[in-house]
């Protein structure tokens, strides 16, 4: 196992370079570099992305002079060839310097750090809640397989799975936040948050969390419940469970002591996603509920070609993803000691 882990960790190095080189080359090949973005702002008055703006260059001239373009190139380090810029990026990375965001004009790490807590809170909350609900639900569905409870919940889960988060979000906002006025429309806290008591603060946060959290969880919910149900069904049919029953053990002992542990193995794969929860962010949900998180940052960085932020996010998420995989493998072994990676 140790040897395996070391091998996996070493393999991360080429994987890391593979991911970052491809991303670096791709974003640099895409039209609309940060310089072009600035030139667009000069020509169209920062209306980029829409249908075009209009004649705001007060000089009325049509092209920006060479000197300005050269200055912009220098400002962003684009006066060097692509491979040189990548090497510089890697060198800086070794000093944990991700460079500066072109948009925010702040160090990338500060920008990511400022958005990170929001996504982390939702990531962890939805991960824990999903597991707490889906494992018992999946087990119960398996025990009652084919019965009305199983059928009803399957229909319900399929229905919720097929609702796009965007539609669900609008529905929740209009009905529960708007018409019924039960929840706030968005944000993570009230304006008077600072003046609240500790309990008041906690309640305020929970109040703000409910609607976006439902949107975050809705998809994963169905997947995990169905996976748990099917895995449980497979295990329940296996020989050792039949033997346990034949020994006269109570149904609870058979299910929860013998079957559950084995049925959890496929579910454990998902636990590697725990690392992903650190960067969980959904563009649609964050935009709709006015949450200032990683999802929106990533999307906006791609649109505005904020190369350093894109590379920073790619680096962090690929690292978390790779560690997540290794973590899943370790959990496999913990749950089922028979598994041995060699």
């Amino acid at each position: 196992m140790i040897v395996y882990l070391i091998r996996r960790l070493l393999l991360m190095i080429p994987t890391f370079f593979g991911i970052t080189v491809v991303t670096f080359v791709l974003i640099n090949l895409a039209p609309g570099s940060p310089i072009e973005q600035k030139l667009q702002a000069i020509r169209f008055g920062s209306a980029g992305g829409g249908g075009g703006g209009g004649g705001v260059n007060t000089r009325g001239d049509t092209s920006v002079n060479e000197e300005v373009i050269e200055a912009l190139k220098k400002q962003y380090g684009f006066d060097k060839p692509l491979h040189e810029r990548y090497i510089i990026w890697v060198k800086n990375l070794a000093r944990l310097d991700f460079g500066e965001s072109f948009t925010y004009q702040e160090p990338v790490i500060d920008v990511i750090k400022s958005k990170f807590p929001v996504s982390l809170q939702f990531g962890i909350a939805s991960l824990i809640l999903t597991y707490i609900v889906c494992i018992p639900l999946g087990v119960r569905k398996a025990i009652k397989a084919g019965a009305s409870f199983d059928r009803f919940t399957t229909i319900l889960l399929n229905l919720t799975y097929s609702i796009p988060p965007l539609v669900l979000g609008i529905f929740l906002i209009v009905v529960f936040a708007g018409k019924l006025n039960m929840f706030p429309i968005g944000g993570i806290q009230s304006d008077d948050y600072e003046s609240l008591t500790s309990m008041g603060k906690l309640w305020d946060r929970i109040h703000h969390f409910v609607l976006p959290l439902i949107c975050y969880m809705i998809g994963g919910f169905t997947e995990l419940s169905v996976l748990m149900r099917n895995s449980m069904l497979d295990v329940v049919k296996s020989d050792f469970v039949r033997t346990a029953r034949a020994k006269g053990l109570s149904e609870n002992v058979v299910i929860f002591k013998h079957a559950l542990r084995n049925a959890l193995i496929p579910i454990a794969t998902g636990l590697g996603g725990f690392f992903g929860a650190f960067l969980a962010g959904s563009l649609i949900i964050e935009q709709m509920f006015n949450l200032d998180g990683i999802g929106l940052l990533g999307y906006q960085s791609v649109l505005s070609r904020d190369y350093n932020v894109i590379m920073g996010l790619t680096f962090i998420s690929s690292l978390l993803l790779m560690f997540g995989r290794v973590f899943s493998d370790i959990i496999y072994v913990l749950i089922d000691p028979r598994i041995d990676f060699k």
Partner: protein
């Protein structure tokens, strides 16, 4: 004066008074918090490095320039400068600063600060290369005494004064330390009527009235900036914005025509939130389909006019715009004083057919597509229209069908904004559709219509070239007399409309907005803007 004379006087003043004359209310109640949605979050509010419209909206409250335009007359009005002199040759502008103007830290605004604000833009360390094109017409700024500053212009360009007058004045003491100032992305120090008091990332920007602002004691600003605090939100989603407004959480919101007509019916609209449909003289944007003059297909004027005749704008306006738009008649806002009043091209397949036949396009082989001999080779009338916004696709689908009936095969191609712009910049397209913003009340057509702009990256991306238009534009740009400039530019716009380089689409007829019933306002709109700076909070 007898009754007849009085009546004549009343009548004549009624006829000469501007239709929309709105006056600020000098007795407007003061105080309260005004909440509105900025629509997005400014990445930085730094006065030199910021580029987006959101930061500009914040800076409009927090920063002052030397002079500003009047919302009703569009005349220049003193701001940080109490008066100014313009040299006879129109190249030197001397501004005399107010003596009572101070920055938000209490230090006085001096000529040194004005010079610094200008020089900083050209100082490479500030990384403000993007701002330079706006100020290239000015060569230098000199300090004559602590309260007098002189700008010298490079040439006679009519907009040079505007560049100088609207320069954002920032304190040298605070911003001269480049490294320190670069970290001031969420702080802003200027001399405007409001102080930036809070900028919470992702949440809110709060402004507080600046109690030492010079304007508070100046009658010229009576009735303006009545709120104690202003709160700006960053909601991007329209549904969220409307729900927030319904809950009473927003005092002002812009509405799109769809929202005005469809999403804002029944209570609380009309009760606690009041909708407005107003007409003012602020220039409005226009959409267009541009024909690439580099392609032989579009070089014949008859073809371009025929293509415009096949665009059923009346129907599109009715179907997609609730009839709330005007049909654009050229490259300038319909109600602008610069508009020469050309007749908008109407939808007429018959006229189109005649013009196409005149240009040699006929369907001899009866396969439904027009053809013509070009260089001894039979060529069919086919082209591709590129567009960057899915929202407008329905218009072009309708257009495609009408073109098809006339024997023209148009293919539609949607492209992401940056990829779209790459093709446009390279001139590598047949036809393109976009929209130009309203631009300035006093327009300068050079950027879009002069042949000097028909270069890679230029705004004359369709490569329209008319030497007569070029000459008139060049003359108008250095003409300080507005009446003469209007006359010259009317000719320019008339010629452009005649050449039909674009098939012009629509001009917005109205501005739509809503405000909470807590708001008081002197008028629904001023002549050149809605006039939110004159609003107040009604007593409970």
């Amino acid at each position: 004066m007898n009754m007849k004379g009085l009546l004549a006087l009343v009548l004549s003043s009624a006829l000469t008074a501007p239709a929309l004359a709105a006056k600020p209310n000098p007795n407007a109640p003061k105080g309260g918090n005004f909440v509105f949605n900025l629509g997005g979050e400014p990445p930085t509010v730094h006065p030199i490095t910021s580029t987006d419209t959101y930061s500009r909206a914040v800076q409009n409250y927090v920063c002052d320039g030397l002079a500003t335009r009047d919302s009703e007359t569009y005349e220049w009005k003193p701001r940080l400068a109490e008066k100014w002199d313009i040299s006879k040759d129109n190249k030197v502008f001397t501004f005399h600063l107010r003596k009572d103007a101070v920055f938000h830290d209490g230090t006085p605004v001096t000529a040194d600060d004005v010079k610094f604000s200008f020089d900083a833009i050209f100082e490479p360390k500030y990384e403000a290369a993007h701002l330079r094109p706006y100020y290239e017409g000015l060569t230098k700024v000199e300090v004559l005494d602590p309260h007098t500053v002189r700008f010298t212009a490079r040439d006679l360009y009519f907009n040079n004064f505007e560049s100088a007058a609207t320069l954002t004045v920032i304190p040298k003491k605070i911003y001269s330390d480049v490294e320190k100032s670069k970290k001031m992305n969420r702080q802003l120090m200027c001399a405007g009527p409001y102080v930036l008091s809070k900028f919470d990332r992702g949440q809110v920007i709060t402004l507080k009235k600046f109690d030492k602002w010079y304007g508070l004691k100046d009658a010229a600003f009576a009735g303006m900036y009545n709120f104690d605090t202003i709160t700006m939100r960053f909601y991007k989603d329209e549904n969220v914005e409307l729900e927030r407004a319904k809950k009473g959480e927003l005092d002002y919101l812009d509405l799109r025509v769809e929202a005005f007509m469809k999403k804002t019916e029944g209570a609380p609209w009309g009760k606690t939130i009041i909708k407005h449909k107003v007409q003012n003289s602020a220039p409005k944007s226009y959409g267009f389909i541009g024909w690439n003059f580099r392609k032989e297909l579009f070089q014949d004027r008859n073809v371009r006019v025929a293509l415009a005749h096949l665009l059923n704008r009346e129907e599109m306006n009715k179907k997609f715009r609730y009839g709330m738009s005007d049909l654009a008649n050229g490259a300038i806002y319909l109600r602008s004083e610069y508009n020469p009043g050309n007749k908008a091209l109407e939808f007429s397949p018959k006229k189109a057919q005649e013009l196409l036949a005149k240009a040699g396009w006929t369907d001899k082989d009866k396969n439904g597509v027009l053809e013509k001999e070009v260089g001894g080779k039979k060529t069919e009338f086919k082209f591709t229209l590129i567009y960057p916004s899915k929202d407008t696709e329905k218009y072009y689908t309708m257009y495609r069908e009408d073109l098809k009936k006339a024997g023209i095969d148009m293919e539609l191609k949607y492209l992401e904004w940056n990829s779209f712009l790459k093709l446009v910049d390279e001139g590598n397209f047949d036809a393109v559709t976009m929209a130009w913003g309203g631009g300035s009340v006093d327009p300068d057509p050079k950027q879009i219509w002069h042949s000097a702009g028909a270069v890679p990256g230029g705004s004359n991306f369709i490569a329209y070239k008319n030497p007569e238009v070029d000459k008139l534009i060049d003359e108008a740009r250095v003409e300080p007399n507005k009446a003469k400039r209007v006359a010259a530019l009317k000719k320019v716009y008339a010629k452009i409309a005649e050449d039909a380089p674009y098939a012009f689409l629509f001009n917005d007829k109205y501005a739509f907005y809503a405000n909470s019933s807590r708001m008081g306002m002197p008028a629904e709109t001023f002549k050149y803007e809605i006039g939110r700076d004159y609003w107040w909070l009604k007593a409970e």
